[in-house]
Symmetry: C2
Subunit: 206 residues, 2 copies
DNA sequence: TTCACGGTGTGAAAAAAATAACGATGACAA
DNA sequence: TTGTCATCGTTATTTTTTTCACACCGTGAA
């Protein structure tokens, strides 16, 4: 089902969905491909092509039906049941991510958190149990957790990643400014503030 | 000088530099392209090609001289003098970004911060003055600020962006989960946690 | 010296991605 | 009805990006 759709398409589809949700909330019912395109800074052809891949269909006169299209995209992007997510590292960043997360991603659920600090482990954080990071490879499989958010210091990131991989994790959102090494089949998305900053700095004077 | 180098190359060069700094710190003197490649998860050919573009040259027997290469990359990526940066929005995220920033980017300097909350404006934050966000288009030009980090709520992001653009900002690192609209010539880098999360969720079950 | 080896720099080829092009379709006006 | 028009779905083309391939170079061994 996921074959034939590139990473970039998936990203754009996620953007389209976000826009469509806004439109839906404000009562819009139909959109043309170029509406979606301008809202998400891409081209109408690109939108049509992306939607073609997931067979979301529109009418040539009215365009795309917002609710139907949302259904198509969500059906494609989301798992049938909510996915469980582990959050590793409950420092400032980890807690901020957790706070941001709440209520925003109904299909993703932070089920467990982990930290190495004994002052944090063994308690509930936002109603979610926090365990010692050493229990990772044991607890993730038993809770059906396949993806993780990594908010540990850079120095620990690779070691924790190795544990995650051993624990069967298949997708990682990494906030540490390091390049993680994982086996094929494990997806890593790095939120690399430093690199983004330097890139923006560069092009701000291009 | 910046012509002919794609955004992706710039990103990779930034990654190479980070790796090279680590190597330098641990006393390494020479590296082959494939060392850099494996460390940054790309290919040796890609590394050589990227370096070719900035005319960083290596020897076929020893590889690349770490310090020389660092010099080449930094000369290419960095402005001759430190660039001034404005930070807009001093909520949890903004303060976290500021804290992360400190000491990590010698060529970039957060010169001014802005917020809309009167409890924050008029004071020093980390030794850096905080102004009302309405003073943006006035203060940015007079301080030579050409780039900004945007950590305001999504609902305000576009309005603030418009002010930034009027204030002459040419590069924005945007943390708000919205697609910003800017004139050509203004570079926007969006740190989009939601999109990254959904992308990782998708590929974690591919 | 002479050869083999492993790496660089770079043009050529391949793959991936974005853009353009176009027949088909349905709404609407005349 | 008939023609026009704007948009869709899809194929074709172009552009961009990555990978391959190989001549050339410096080193070390024989």
């Amino acid at each position: 089902m996921s074959v034939n759709v590139s990473e970039r398409s998936v990203r754009r589809l996620s953007l389209y969905r976000r826009f469509l949700l806004h439109v839906q909330a404000s009562g819009g019912r139909y959109l043309f491909s170029h509406d979606i395109a301008t809202a998400t800074r891409t081209s109408a052809a690109q939108v049509r092509r992306d939607l073609m891949a997931i067979s979301g269909s529109g009418s040539s006169s009215r365009g795309y039906h917002v609710t139907d299209l949302l259904k198509s995209i969500s059906c494609f992007l989301d798992a049938p049941a909510p996915q469980h997510v582990a959050l590793i590292g409950l420092g400032n960043l980890g807690r901020a991510v957790f706070a941001y997360f709440v209520g925003r991603h109904p299909n993703l659920r932070i089920t467990l958190t982990f930290d190495i600090d004994p002052a944090k482990t063994g308690r509930l954080i936002n109603g979610c149990p926090c365990h010692n990071v050493l229990k990772l490879n044991h607890l993730c499989p038993s809770h059906g957790i396949r993806m993780a958010i990594l908010t540990v210091p850079a120095a620990e990131a690779q070691a924790v990643t190795d544990m995650l991989v051993r624990g069967g994790i298949r997708g990682i959102v990494n906030f540490a400014p390091v390049t993680l090494h994982v086996p094929v089949g494990v997806f890593v998305e790095t939120m690399d503030f430093s690199i983004s900053l330097e890139t923006a700095a560069f092009f701000s004077r291009a």
